[in-house]
Amino acid sequence: MTPPGLPTPLAPLRSPARRLLRSGLLEALAAPHGVDRYLELVHPTRSLRGPQAELIAVRRQTVDSVTMTLRPSDGWHGFRAGQFIRLTIEVAGVLETRCYSPACGEQAEGQVEITVKAHPAGKVSRYLNEHARPGMVVGMSAAGGDFVLPRERPERLLLISSGSGITPVMSMLRTLCAEGHGGTVTFLHYARTGEDVVYRPELAEIAARHPNVRIVLVHTREATAGGLAGHISREHLHRVGADHRRAHTYVCGAPGLIAWVRATWAEDGIEQLLHVESFLPASFTVGGAGTEGSVDFARSGERVLSDGGSLLEQAEQAGLCPQFGCRMGICRICTCRKTAGSVRNVLNGEISGAEEEDIQICVSVPVGDVELAL
């Protein structure tokens, strides 16, 4: 299993054996299937196409999450704290790809730690929570994304997260601590209850050992020991002494949290200090004006009345099997040609022109009639 169509950096030529495997001679001998299809007979992670990973440890921090340690195969180039990787997992015969941010520090060489919270409607997250066990092999992409700390670490940092959005900022925190970073770091995390906080003991330990790090956990559905409660507000920022106007702020979490932070930072005119990672849920529907119309799938001859969902979902409901990957507008595997009509990108709200262009159908909803080369 390899993540479909990912940009896979060439693995370094570490050994003569590897050089031989990459030579044109072996390609010619394996044609038309590629050397990989034969290497896989020896071991599932013996693949040249891109990193795969084997689960080497699985633990549970909360009842509805699973924390996995993965060992990537050769060709893994590491990651920068805050970036994400794509894991490809077979669920009920179908290869599903999802993005996850490693929670470990950058220094974790040859290992990646991922924490996955089970979402009630999440096919992959539920599968991993039920079935992840050491020895399992998954497809794993190179790391990507620009939600990263500057190489020169800022003097003041504010890390805000909620729920499972803790993982990229946890990675940043662990990285900074391991580096012996001396600047001020405020770590503000929101969870429903104390039981829902992953990495809780470690956070307490970090707070105890690093006087420059202030960790504040807020529970949205019960009283918090520190006195803060409910959702993020200016009062919260003030009381944790975050000094958000002077700090570089990194936010990852629920849409409500992100919307509030964006608006507040805009109000204060400090958007340049704000860095946001927002993972949309896999399924969304946009209703209201402008969504009526029909969708023509020109190649297959199918035509449906738009239900306002993403073009990918509508294509699938029409019985087509378009290629897809992340289903959230990141990996571009589902990119296909729009031959007529306008679409709205649900990630940024932009409405396209009616001209022919390539669009990501997983995050595009039709605006009026649309024709796709599917």
């Binding site: 001998l29 038309p32 007979l41 009920a92 015969g93 179908v94 290869l95 099997c321």
Partner: protein
């Protein structure tokens, strides 16, 4: 109503027939899952192992049993690669798995015919215009007379000879399928118009030739001639087997050919009915079905070309029952009987007799 010699269906009857088949299709689609993914991956694993085993044994070609074992394993590997894996994967039967290795649009097979040309000539032309004379190039591959409704010419005296040559060189016959050599010879089109297709075929043939007839023989050193002979034999076995099973799909006695006029304004139900009338099944055991790429279930394959092939055996039970209930023909028989009737037809149609 068309199809004069067969039970004719009214439009309503054809629609009802179509609805029953659509129901089967929906039912199978809803049930696709791990079983299907595991099946095709298992077949691919077996094929790769057979190939590695076959080519390894051929390195010891100087021991006669090793040569024979090597040829057997490599032949089976090539048969599985072309029939149960390549043909079916390229139909998009496993697209829903979302694995680029099993994607119908990307898959390439160990066959002289480039996958993209195959998808056009086979998935589109043959499966849409099944048995329609002048449209479906699988009817005689442009060189044979396979229907009484093809007008006889002196050229067709060589029908059995052409068929034998096609069987021996079957993968090349398939490869030049889209080139429409017969039309080039007839001066209807020029070779220049087919330049891109020709380049694609040449590239594919070159790779396979280098692999099977240069690199692997050279790597084996002194056994080179034996390895070359072994690889040629494996390609030949695959060619003969593919020809045999494929010609049993649409040409045994009882299968019907159609004219373009007969298919004008065809409904979905009538399209289903044409697929049923134009195809024939082979009976046999499980291994036989797998080695035929489940083309032994040709009727089911033509009704549902994009459903995973290993489901056809289950689907066939339902299709047979629908046909029995509605008094429709269902052409099925053992390989010997079906192929015998194909051979007799090839010989009979060499002569003018039987012209419609």
């Amino acid at each position: 109503m068309y199809y004069a010699t067969t039970p004719s269906l009214s439009k309503e009857q054809a629609d009802a027939f179509g609805r029953e088949l659509d129901a089967i299709r929906r039912h199978v689609l809803a049930d696709l899952g791990e079983r299907d993914a595991d099946y095709i991956r298992g077949v691919i694993r077996t094929q790769r192992r057979l190939e590695v085993a076959g080519r390894s044994l051929l390195f010891f070609s100087f021991i006669p049993p090793a040569w024979l074992g090597g040829v057997t394993a490599l032949s089976l590997s090539k048969i599985l690669d072309n029939m149960e894996i390549g043909h079916n994967v390229m139909h998009g039967q496993y697209d829903w798995i979302n694995d680029p290795e099993l994607n119908g649009r990307r898959f390439e097979w160990d066959n002289a015919c480039p996958a993209d040309q195959w998808r056009h000539s086979h998935n589109y032309l043959h499966h849409t215009y099944t048995n329609v004379l002048g449209k479906d190039r699988d009817v005689g591959y442009g060189i044979l007379r396979m229907s009484e409704r093809q007008p006889w010419r002196l050229y067709y005296l060589g029908n059995p000879l052409y068929a034998a040559l096609l069987a021996i060189f079957f993968q090349y016959g398939v490869a030049v399928h889209d080139l429409e050599l017969d039309r080039i010879v007839a001066g209807e089109i020029t070779l220049g118009e087919k330049r891109d297709l020709l380049d694609g075929v040449w590239d594919k043939v070159r790779r396979q030739t280098i692999k099977d007839y240069v690199l692997f023989p050279l790597l084996s050193g002194p056994s080179a001639p034996l390895v070359l002979a072994g690889n040629a034999s494996a390609n030949l076995v695959r060619n003969l087997w593919a020809f045999t099973t494929i010609f049993c799909g649409h040409f045994p006695d009882g299968t019907v050919q159609f004219t373009e006029e007969e298919t004008i304004e065809e409904t979905r139900g009538q399209w289903y009915y044409r697929q049923l009338l134009g195809s024939a099944d082979l009976t046999g055991g499980k291994l036989f079905h797998i080695l035929s790429g489940n083309l032994s279930h040709q009727i089911e394959h033509h009704l549902f070309p994009d459903l995973p092939s290993h489901r056809y055996a289950e689907i066939a039970v339902e299709v047979r029952e629908i046909c029995r209930r509605n008094g429709l023909p269902y052409n099925a028989g053992p390989l010997r009987k079906q192929f015998g009737s194909v051979v007799r037809k090839i010989a009979r149609l060499a002569l003018p007799k039987g012209e419609a």
